[in-house]
Symmetry: D2
Subunit: 127 residues, 4 copies
């Protein structure tokens, strides 16, 4: 199994309104049902897991806006696939945060709007 | 002033090791010093603010790995610039989360490794 | 069948040398064997065809640098999927070029290094 | 001077029609007037030159759809900046093509719709 970390953003083009959150929510629901560890951000969703499982879900996510009436969809996928060590969202964050705690670091900021990485308490697989 | 939300990821190519966190930390420090509202994620950093101010800092971030010995740097920038209403990281997240609370939503997940959006208590500008 | 146009760029990280053309060539060979219509550019490859067929080949392309010794691979995929009309590389180019020929256009430039869109004379499928 | 190769794609969101070529043409005209070496492709434009000069033009390109009525614009920029040797569109292409000519290469394809890299015969700077 290849554990990769993937960033994905899906946007319909040519909708009648620049507000796209209902499409983003539609896409996010597919991901929530998948049981994959993921994190919604303001610019896309980060998913962690077996690369083939992720790509299968991303394919399904890409299809969602068409089901909501869109006729053109633009999807951006960025795969970070590392195989020499454990590679997860938490590990990547910890690795950078450790470096930031070394001397030379400016004083820490103030947390606002903490996004959450979601792990389904009981992954059910896709239904 | 144009308030945009920007995703940026900067990676040196051809370094002797696949571990890039010290470069990511170097880039993140530039952003922390800038006073811009931002959020570090496992796949890149999300920045909010005046587009020209952001692009000036991103230009500086892009230069950082060269100062750390890299000879080739790959930078990806995704700009989301919306001008018909207030457009911020918090607003974008809230908008999607509201849609997700509507009927049809699967049960909420469990938060792990919450990233933080940092706002410097007293932005000092770049020094 | 969904005919999409996809941009893909695949780069190994931490290879010790900033010259990546041998990896790019390895990835390109997979695409050439696929029989899919595609165009190599200086920043990535553009592929046209059935979206599922493209994603299957992209998955195979992403695997290639690992076979050449890389331990970390960064892949960027941008899908443009339009379903209300014929959607191909040639059609997209023609559409913009027609708009550019309308009044207001600056004088045409001079062609250097023309990339080519390749269509295998006899697609053999993947082997 | 830093000679970088940059891929840029600019798309308005929420325009009411999925046909975006008139916006792409508007953006392309800005680039043509800049005198920078560039190449229009079906998925974005590739620009070569001094990184600061390119970013200044990209900033102007990003603004163009707003002038054509868009209220939200999504811009993707990918910078490939290499400083240990000459780094141009032509050089990058040649480097991969040489590798492809080595043993193991499948038979060459057939060229359709050749894009062109444009170099203004007499760059006039932006007007």
């Amino acid at each position: 199994m290849t554990v990769a970390v993937v960033f994905v953003t899906i946007a319909p083009l040519g909708t009648g309104t620049p507000s796209l959150s209902r499409y983003v929510a539609g896409v996010e629901r597919i991901l929530q049902r998948s049981g994959l560890v993921h994190q919604l951000t303001a610019m896309g969703t980060i998913v962690e897991g077996d690369l083939d499982a992720i790509l299968a879900v991303v394919r399904e996510m890409h299809e969602t806006p068409f089901g909501q009436g869109a006729v053109r969809v633009s999807t951006l996928i960025k795969i970070d696939d590392r195989r020499d060590k454990e590679h997860t969202i938490a590990r990547k964050m910890r690795s950078v945060e450790e470096k930031l705690l070394e001397p030379g670091q400016p004083p820490p900021g103030v947390a606002i709007t903490p996004p959450r990485t979601r792990r389904r308490s009981a992954p059910r697989g896709r239904r």
